[in-house]
């Protein structure tokens, strides 16, 4: 898995070395690779009967995680907001 991180770091270095040239096409490349990978993920999910049968319960677990994660970060944002705001405008 660390191969993946190494690839990203190699990319950052490459991108930085070529910063004189604006490599605009890279965003197109990223988009196409994401399309390809999600198509492959769909293919893998679709051909896995066990996952297809459980799709509903996986969706429910996904919902719980999404809901809790979003709510947690919103609450933290609220606490942070109170602190930042009172410090920015001292009474």
């Amino acid at each position: 898995m660390f191969t993946v991180i190494a690839c990203m770091i190699a990319g950052i270095v490459t991108g930085f070395l070529f910063r004189k040239w604006k490599l605009r096409f890279i965003h197109q490349v990223i988009l196409v690779l994401i399309w390809l990978l999600l198509f492959l993920l769909g293919l893998e999910v679709g051909s896995n009967e066990q996952v297809i049968r459980q799709f509903g319960s996986l969706g429910f677990e996904a919902f719980l995680l999404a809901f809790a994660g979003t709510l947690g970060s919103v609450i933290f944002a609220g606490i942070f907001w109170l602190r930042v705001r009172t410090k920015s405008y001292p009474k």
Binding site: L41, E44, G46, F63
Partner: protein, 200 residues
């Protein structure tokens, strides 16, 4: 939103072709998708390293808001941690890996599938799509009850692209730079945290 629908339709097409066995499975199994993933990460790296302008823009940021991504990370982890105690068949690390997608569903689901298999990868995809949808739908409500930073934290890694317009509309354009900064930092952290929790 349109971009997300296109991405979803690629997943759905693959799903249908997979269910009806129209496409040969040999292509999806094996190392092919891993090589594509490495190519993707290399490209993501290039896009970060090649754009020093995005770093320079952050000089205009309110220094106190530098810690905003920490709120996003801490809040998400805490919420996910609580839920992980109710999900008996998922480990805490699995749940944290899904949560650490921070809405970046394409990358997190791909990484998690590689590492933990299709089942958790599917959860990661659905969960992170839902996070983005929650942000798009409930941003005005979040601002009302939790302040102007709330939709930015909720949006996680998506706040410099897909949820950016709604954040500017609900939090105000004074928070545009904060939103881009937060999205940039979170985009960068996703691969690190996801692979970290997958390796536990």
């Amino acid at each position: 939103m349109k971009g997300s629908l296109i991405i979803l339709s690629f997943f759905a097409t693959g799903l249908l072709l997979g269910i009806f066995r129209i496409f040969p499975l040999e292509i999806s199994s094996g190392n092919f998708s891993f090589y594509v993933l490495c190519g993707l990460m290399f490209s993501v790296g290039i896009s970060i390293g090649n754009d020093p302008a995005s770093f320079r823009q952050f000089r205009h940021l309110n220094p106190r808001l530098i810690f905003l991504p920490l709120m996003t990370i801490g809040g998400t982890w805490l919420g996910v941690l609580v839920v992980s105690f109710f999900l008996k068949n998922r480990s805490v690390a699995d749940c944290l890996a899904v949560g650490s997608g921070f809405g970046y569903y394409s990358l997190s689901s791909i990484l998690i599938t590689q590492c933990k298999g299709v089942e958790l990868g599917t959860i990661a995809l659905l969960s992170n799509i839902m996070r983005e949808v929650f942000t798009l739908l409930f941003a005005p409500w979040m601002v009302k009850y939790f302040g102007r930073l709330a939709p930015i934290c909720a949006g996680g890694a998506t706040t410099m692209d897909t949820t950016f317009p709604i954040i500017v509309r609900t939090s105000g354009k004074d928070y545009a730079i904060v939103s881009i900064y937060q999205g940039f930092i979170m985009d960068f952290t996703v691969p690190f945290f996801v692979t970290f929790f997958c390796s536990l």
